[in-house]
Subunit: 309 residues, 4 copies
């Protein structure tokens, strides 16, 4: 690929000659460049387990005039998604499709494991309590996080009385939908790299309005944490053009289960009411394959090939 990122190329070419500390830094940058771009030299050293001066010398060794220029190169690496293609090439370029499948699933398992190890249980409990005590619950997630927000919104609506899924649609903008947010409300912001500036600004607004802010994001270094008093950290993965949101989805599942357990009676009432409504009012039959008879019939058809023409 002609448009290979310069920094990645330098790291690749020099890798053989790197010291042990430099190799650690190189690995860290390849894996977490999105985070690396945030860090001061001291902080990066701390994360990787080398000294600040090792970091600075690493920058010079790569041909940069000091850490700031190196950091600028890191920024360029982050800037375009094109780089993710390069990273994909590195990760998946030489393996078969079958191996890609196994490799992606294994990587997603790792992300959930890392999430289990790093997530703060007291923060999770705080999130549950904050949601339970809120008057209105706003959920914001856009771009690749929109499906997560929509999924969470669907289930919270069965549990809590006033849930508002904030979406960007053809008619209205985010701020038109959160303009009435207040002290008694909670705003749940979901954002993973490449972080959404619109989500961040909505959280800033909510925070200024004294609303509670809960975030679901990928690290303590995430800008989403600035306005949040309750950060749920789940590992995402960027080794592809697709941002893997498997671990965040798992945390969403846990949130729904925990809320359900706290509001069991209300949820049962809601579900019972919905069942009654279906029976009494719905024109449509429920869009679900529930009747054993139907199912068996369908399965039989499949087995005997009745449907074949």
């Amino acid at each position: 690929m002609g448009n290979k990122n310069e920094l990645l190329q330098k790291i690749e070419e020099g890798y053989g000659k790197f010291s042990k500390g430099q190799k650690k830094l190189a690995d860290f940058i390849r894996e977490y460049y999105d985070k690396a771009a945030f860090l001061t030299a001291a902080k990066m050293g701390e994360e990787v387990g080398v000294s600040e001066s090792t970091v600075v010398r690493f920058a010079t060794a790569l041909g940069y005039n000091g850490y700031p220029e190196f950091q600028k190169a890191l920024g360029e690496l982050v800037r375009t998604k094109l780089n993710s293609i390069q990273r994909m090439e590195v990760t998946y370029g030489r393996i078969s499709q079958g191996e890609i499948l196994a490799s992606v699933l294994q990587s997603d398992i790792e992300k959930i494991k890392m999430t289990m190890e790093s997530i703060d249980h007291s923060v999770f409990e705080l999130a549950v309590d904050t949601i339970l005590n809120a008057k209105s619950i706003y959920i914001i997630g856009i771009r690749s996080c929109a499906p997560l927000a929509s999924f969470l919104g669907f289930y919270l609506n069965l549990i809590c009385p006033d849930v508002k899924l904030v979406n960007t649609n053809s008619s209205s903008e985010i701020f038109e939908q959160i303009i009435r947010v207040g002290e008694q409300d909670v705003v749940i912001g979901i954002s993973f790299p490449r972080y959404s500036m619109r989500t961040l600004k909505a959280l800033e607004f909510a925070s200024n309005r004294k609303a509670k802010v809960i975030t679901l994001t990928d690290s303590v270094h995430s800008p989403m944490t600035i306005y949040s008093s309750c950060n749920l950290i789940a590992r995402s993965d960027m080794a592809s053009i697709v941002d893997s949101l498997v671990a965040p989805l798992s945390v969403v599942n846990a949130l729904v289960v925990a809320l359900c357990m706290k509001k069991q009676e209300e949820v049962i009432t809601t579900l019972e009411t919905l069942e009654q409504i279906w029976d009494e009012y719905q024109v449509y039959s429920k869009d679900e394959l529930n009747m054993v008879g139907d199912k068996v019939e369908l399965t039989m058809k499949m087995k005997t090939g009745e449907d074949d023409e």
Copy 2:
């Protein structure tokens, strides 16, 4: 809970006195009742590893007049979501919120592992090739599967020329959106228990129109497999009102990565074009936090607490 399902209650009460084979059956039903409701006595025996007559005797032991009545009770168990509350109670009722978190995440890891073990690599490769060779790609997923469909649609649109996310909205119905589907097209149907009848019918239509049908569903027993020539199996989880779709999402990730690797040059071109368009035409700045400077500044603010009032 007063409205405890009768069948579950019978199983619970009798469990201590069950034979080894009956315990296997009881466990199977508690875990996979949604599937159990489909099965003939012979097939259930096969799945669990007991004889058909053990299954029939188990039905009688529980107090039913033979297998058909027992199967009807299974159907009732499936029918309402209320039962998932009962199952949640069983699974999560006696543990703390922190343990719920760990338990859900661990369960999601297991589902991905089971998916890795059971998914057929040649089917995955067939899915990739079918998508690459299609003229138009239709993606259908509704209810809790809508976020998965939307996520897949977003990324496929960057890779393939004609991707149509079929959604049910206030204006149009599914069939109005797939009315022109033909032989050269592929329809990807995503459905997990409680299976969607509308998705099933759309796949039937696509199949009659000789379109290729790919399904992402939870088992070979899923009714979705009836009209599909290419079944991607991923484990979902119903031990909650929330259907965990973590493993299916991981398979979607793998699909996107594999397609990307096959169409690298096209994806690079698409992404480069999008970058150029942003630069040339967009009124808005990109909704992404890309500039190192900004990030550092934000991070600094956070560290020094400048934003605190």
Copy 3:
């Protein structure tokens, strides 16, 4: 067209020989068959200005065994949209495209005029007051009425504190969104022929929950009026596959203006707050061409053809 509706054909063939009263009936049926299908013989006579027995004899003259069979034929006429193609043929078949434009616009003017003449001012005032006094405002309109509902929802949200646009989307159904409707709320249902059964059922539910129900529909014969205590009547038009909703949109405009005048101070506050938010928080510039300078520059470009390559 081979599939010409039998009843229309009979009317066309016999028209020359009809009595004056029969011609009136024939014209009424061609224009308002959708309504005609509702009416008893007595009622149809009343609407057209002929006696009940004239109506019954008309049915026999057309070759039907009495009024019930004739009414069944009317039902068939209504049943499929195909008939609207036939009606289009009748209305627009022999005129040029330019004349189609003039004819459609003229017809829309007539519908607004008829709406002005027939709409009940005290009902309009009741609608305004009911909306102003409601706790939550739900708006339901699906199929071709979805754009009207969305338009009304967008503006009401700027005026009233808790507006919920009920939509059918891939994730949730109507009843999941209105499950918490109560006595203090108002539900605004918008439905025109071909009336939506789902909207009707939602209004029935709202009515049983003692919520206020306001309807925007096309006549006092509309089934939507069953559950409504406040019916805004606006003329729609079905002389095409497209249901002209111009007059209903005009009534929506009037509703927004009247509400705005009643809540001027609140609307000003909302708009000012939105302006401030844009200035303080928005990453994006507003998506509106506001700056005179920009406009002039753009206009200049246009005039001088600077943009031409």
Copy 4:
């Protein structure tokens, strides 16, 4: 109202002393300030029917240092929606709710009449032919124009093979949806004051890609016309916070009717296919009240009050 716009206030205060030509200018500005902000002094004179020097002197009479400063004040008048509240006050402030209803409907009739008088028939025919000959048809309308775009999209989809409604949603941006637009395609842009910059930029992109561009907008002065080769002009109305889009909707109706007449056979085939699909595949009954029996029954219930409890 304390925040009364300065320019409007000056006009109001001075009105009594204005010359006949100045009164014409004052009326024009109050009615069409959104357009006035675009115009040079010469052009404004031409529109109003006074000389350029009368316009310049009017600016001075109001206390501005010449026309450029006056134009800047016009820009401020346009800038915020707050002004529309003031204009509403002027138009509707002293009349009853009943009169508001009549006044809004009458104003909408006028807009359609003005549209009839000013729309160019050959442009309408060009639009119809361009749409019929296009490979793919993209429809763009956002903010208050989103319902119009959605309405047009719904019906075009029944007439033409490849219709893409471009919407801004939580997942994808406009440019991601039009990235493959090409020479054989048509892009229909709908935008009324306050014009959308995003729609404009999308049209610019389409134009650079040599796609045909059709616009539906409010005047030849609209910036939307810059990139369009086929401008459908329909009068909108801004005398409220709500932009009246009644006349544009009427033009959309005419477009659908004209296209239907040209593709009668295809539309019949599509509708027949949809009917068949309903019969063969739909789980749901059609969401329409079609059966005479049902209707009569419902109507009867209504009349006899059977539903009352």
